[in-house]
Symmetry: C3
Subunit: 112 residues, 3 copies
């Protein structure tokens, strides 16, 4: 299996559910993600210009392949209103073979 075919988990956050849905729709429609889970709101606590801030955000767990992650991150950054959106790619060690194959098929660039 070439590295490009490895399934990966991309995590990010959107400022609200409406935008999270839009991002998820575009990523799936464009064959960049097989599936996006939009979680219940989280409270994000972070440092910004010397102050500890807290914002409500919608977590997004995005399943794609290593080979598609570059195009996915580009689309996510383009669709995201933040200047510096959180986008992290986590490696997947193993999984249910039919599911891994489904993710690969869904992100091979053809329609969903």
């Amino acid at each position: 299996m070439s590295r490009d075919d490895d399934v990966v988990l991309v995590i990010s956050n959107a400022p609200d559910l409406l935008l999270a849905k839009r991002i998820a729709h575009v990523l799936v429609e464009e064959g960049l993600a097989a599936c996006v889970n939009l979680g219940a709101p989280v409270l994000s606590i972070y440092g910004w210009q010397g102050e500890v801030q807290g914002d409500a955000e919608i977590p997004m767990w995005i399943k794609t392949t290593a080979g598609r992650r570059g195009a996915l991150m580009e689309a996510l950054a383009r669709l995201h209103p933040y200047e510096v959106p959180e986008i992290l790619v986590l490696p997947v060690l193993d999984g249910a073979a039919p599911y891994l194959d489904w993710v690969r098929a869904q992100t091979r660039g053809n329609e969903p």
Copy 2:
């Protein structure tokens, strides 16, 4: 530490909380998982037969070892109503030593 002893994080989703609880109970009772976190409902957006679909699901974060992941994935697939359930295994790089040891002890095959 043999690779089998590495702790891993398995993520999956169940169609509803009742089933998620049942799956979690069986995995812990059978010593296949040390702990299962059942999250608040997520909205899963994915492509299916040319359409973008959206379903509510319960996320499951399952802590076990690399050595038990095969038996766990088999049990999870057996208990799960979907034909192709999402089951992904993420590597764990490090962690609090007492917790890692507890996960190993809980999944060595003896009762919880």
Copy 3:
């Protein structure tokens, strides 16, 4: 990029939101974490002294670097009421470069 500069995702759970907020504040203020997401309550199912137990917990997703993970785990264990708190460190394969750089800058030891 030295391994210490690799961004990692640390996951843990707190017994309630108030404590989760306090832990998150301290980790960010002390430059041990760039950002902490506090999720909606999860139901944690686990085995304890022969019984399957269930507790409500607040999930915490903590973004930091590999180099800071030791000090972060120490602080988290010190602040946490459990004798054996769940603390797992997941590797990050890739991500949006500006975000990765922001995490590194935030955890270089200076104020948030």
